[in-house]
């Protein structure tokens, strides 16, 4: 019986102790803080309070590289009128680099096959061998875009477009010789997709020729359609 009361009392003391421990701060809260404040004001040499480090990390933005799409590579097909040697199918390749919205550089390579002069047809005498009739030009040009606009197909499709001037220098292999060639022309570019363009170009390749006895400037006009991809 005695031990039963002892257990009961001990349990009550234990409960009271833990309970008091948990509510201790209810009564001493204010005074404890005041005490701390008093301690701080008294102790001037104490280290400054620690700045709380934010747990949210600063957002680091990794800037992805912005892809550029300034080059334009393509193939074309058309007709080249070789002075005195007739108009014949031509084909070629172009590679352009767009410098600004207005200007671009363009490298061109093209080939056609010259026919017979009227003298050759009438007399039956061949002035050039078959290999010499191959007309190959390569040049670098500067292009200038103008008249930018849009072309529409029906109600739903709009494609940006522009005209451009071309002018440059290069070389032309024809008649067993390579001649310095000046080219100039104009074209129309239509862009159905960001990576695709269609071109219609008319270009004159001018060089000095003395194939037919006298030295003269020859104009070799070319009209071609082409398709290019931007990358």
């Amino acid at each position: 019986m005695e031990s039963w009361i002892r257990v009961l009392l001990l349990s009550a003391v234990l409960a009271a102790l833990t309970g008091c421990a948990s509510v201790r701060n209810w009564f001493h809260h204010g005074s404890a803080q005041n005490g701390a404040a008093a301690d701080q004001s008294v102790d001037q040499n104490a280290p400054p309070p620690r700045v709380i480090e934010p747990e949210v990390a600063r957002r680091q933005v990794k800037v992805p590289r912005i892809r550029s799409s300034n080059f334009e590579l393509g193939a074309d097909y058309g007709v080249l009128s070789i002075e005195d040697f007739g108009a014949h199918p031509s084909y070629g390749f172009t590679l352009a680099y767009h410098i600004t919205e207005d200007f671009f550089f363009q490298g061109e390579w093209g080939r056609a096959r010259g026919g017979q002069t009227s003298f050759e047809t009438l007399s039956g005498i061949q002035l050039l061998t078959e290999a010499e009739r191959r007309f190959t030009y390569y040049d670098v040009s500067l292009g200038y875009n103008f008249l930018p606009g849009e072309a529409f197909i029906g109600r739903g499709i709009a494609m940006t477009s522009a005209m451009y001037f071309l002018g440059g220098v290069g070389g032309t292999e024809f008649g067993g010789d390579t001649k310095f060639t000046v080219n100039f022309g104009a074209g129309y570019r239509i862009v159905p997709a960001d990576w695709l363009a269609l071109h219609i170009t008319v270009q004159d390749h001018v060089f000095q020729s003395s194939l037919l006895g006298t030295t003269k400037l020859t104009n070799n006009l070319e009209a071609r359609i082409g398709t290019t991809v931007f990358f």
């Binding site: 800037v63 912005i66 550029s68 767009h98 600004t100 080939r111 096959r113 001649k179 991809v229």
Partner: protein
């Protein structure tokens, strides 16, 4: 020849398209920017002449898809795609609050850069010349240069190749002169009606100078003169003057 080459050309173009297609289709990570001005104008094409068809209001974000010259193709939160100019894009901010900046080239870059290249038209020993060059800079004043050219004359055609050093005087100026010194090779195909001399390959050395003029962004004009000595196997060496001018750009 041309009949056989044409299907070949088509095939190579198709092959090129096939090779490039995966690159276009691949999922990409785009740069996200936020509009801070009252609005950002979107044009239908990459040029000031193309009309504005959409505006992105303040605080909305855009994804930068790619760039053509100084225009950026962007996509809005609502999926509208259009072209914004670099000038307008500089007024947007990144997700961390910092200003977006894209360096398209400036005078500082003209003064100090690593790589430059350009194309020229001119004259070489009385013949018409088309040439190109590339250069690698050690510092803002000294660069290693290589040039290739083709010349077309009345008496001969041929090719030239040079390698040498260029020293830029006053690289910080918009007009900056430079001096060049180097060696090279010239390949000549003489033209003659009766006796055709053999084509020849001869070493050369040159000294020269020129001037470059900064245009805009990464572009400048360059004009130069080179005095070439051609070391022939004949009794006398030859001299050839080269004058040329053209466009160049730097990276």
């Amino acid at each position: 020849m041309s009949r056989r080459a044409r299907p070949g050309a088509l095939a190579s173009l198709l092959l090129l398209a096939a090779l490039l297609a995966p690159a276009w289709c691949a999922a990409r990570q785009y740069l996200q920017l936020f509009v801070t001005e009252p609005y950002l104008e979107l044009h239908t094409g990459p040029g000031r002449g193309y009309p504005v068809f959409h505006v992105v209001p303040r605080d909305e974000s855009i994804d930068v898809l790619f760039r053509r010259t100084d225009w950026f193709k962007v996509r809005t939160e609502h999926g509208v795609e259009g072209w914004a100019s670099q000038k307008d894009m500089e007024k947007t901010i990144l997700a961390d609050g910092s200003q977006f900046h894209f360096n398209l080239g400036d005078r500082a870059g003209f003064t100090s850069h690593t790589f430059e290249a350009g194309i020229f038209a001119g004259a070489y020993g009385g013949a018409s010349l088309v040439s190109g060059y590339a250069s690698w800079s050690f510092n803002s004043q000294l660069a290693l240069e290589g040039a290739l050219g083709g010349f077309y004359g009345r008496f001969s055609n041929g090719y030239t190749g040079d390698i040498g050093l260029a020293h830029v005087l006053m690289p910080e100026k918009r007009w900056s002169p430079f001096l060049t010194l180097g060696i090279g090779e010239v390949y000549t195909e003489p033209k003659a009606t009766l006796v055709v001399p053999a084509n020849r390959n001869e070493p050369t050395a040159y000294v020269g100078g020129g001037i470059r003029f900064y245009l805009t962004r990464r572009f400048f004009l360059r004009a130069e003169y080179k005095a070439h000595w051609v070391f022939t196997k004949r009794n006398q060496n030859e001299e050839a003057d080269e004058w040329k001018a053209g466009f160049a750009f730097f990276f």
